[in-house]
Amino acid sequence: MVVSKAQDYYPECPEPFLVSLARTGDRSAFEELVSRRQSGVRNLMRRFCNDNALADDLAQQVLLKVWLNLRQLKKVSAFSGWLRKLAVNVWLHHLRKNDALRGASEIIGTERPSRESPGVGMDLDRALATLAPTLRTCVVLSYSEGMSHREIAAATGLPLGTVKTHIRNGAQQLQEVLAAYDEQKELDAS
């Protein structure tokens, strides 16, 4: 007779249940949680940094922080938002460590994307990489994560007005870069 363990049912368990178990120190539940969430965290980090290896390293840091701080999570249902906040904090910490946020509240002097032909292999991550780190962070949080301006201001510590300007300018620059890519593609096709 084959005796199945509780862990065998984890893949079918709803996430809040897994979070509750992981909070009590259940490593198998945490493992299942990581396997479910790793893709989202890695995608977010890839949008942020356009470097798959670095994105995976940062995602790993985020997931480890989840394990270490899960007991601080008050409501199991708030796990998604809490995880996103952790991810943003890890990314911001990385930026600060690399001094990328210095003078972040100044709009003037942010780098402009090149209007030259961007190349055929360009994708969203590359287009994002042409934005200054703070602009990119605000744009990704707004468009990819659906965070409100106020939430972004709270998460990044930037003034609300700066966040709005960053998102507007960032989206505009992104559209310009992507449009240039589109034009190039059409030229190549004809």
């Binding site: 945490f30 396997s35 893709s39 995608n43 969203l124 744009v139 449009a179």
Partner: protein, 122 residues
């Protein structure tokens, strides 16, 4: 596939860019790291505990010893001066504060048992 960037809907573009990534390796790495963290914390806690014990030993050992010596001297001091003859030697085991304390405790316990019929000490 990203098309028509001239009027790109950035929201849908971001949605399209988010693809499901294979996660066996990263999951294994994260879980392994949690184990390492737990071990590191345990070792760190042990080292801190040992260091605290050492420091406490260094700071408290001598004062504690002196206190113990003082207490034992106080308890073994003769209650009645019987000189230094054989009488003093014979009464030495009972002629001190410690014996007095033991005998009076024993007396109280016996009296309590006689009076109430139950023992104070189980």
């Amino acid at each position: 596939m990203m098309t028509k960037y001239r009027e790109p809907d950035l929201h849908s573009l971001f949605d399209q860019a988010n693809r499901e990534l294979e996660g066996e390796r990263i999951t294994a790495r994260v879980v392994a790291q949690t184990r390492t963290r737990v071990m590191t914390r345990a070792v760190l806690a042990l080292v801190v505990m040992l260091l605290s014990l050492l420091v406490a030993w260094q700071l408290l050992a001598l004062p504690l010893l002196e206190f113990a010596v003082l207490v034992s001297q106080l308890l073994t001091n003769p209650l009645v001066d019987l000189g230094e003859g054989w009488v003093a030697l014979a009464f030495l085991p009972v002629n001190n504060l410690a014996s007095l304390l033991v005998l009076s405790t024993k007396g109280v316990l016996i009296a309590w048992k006689k009076l109430t019929g139950s023992s104070l000490v189980r």
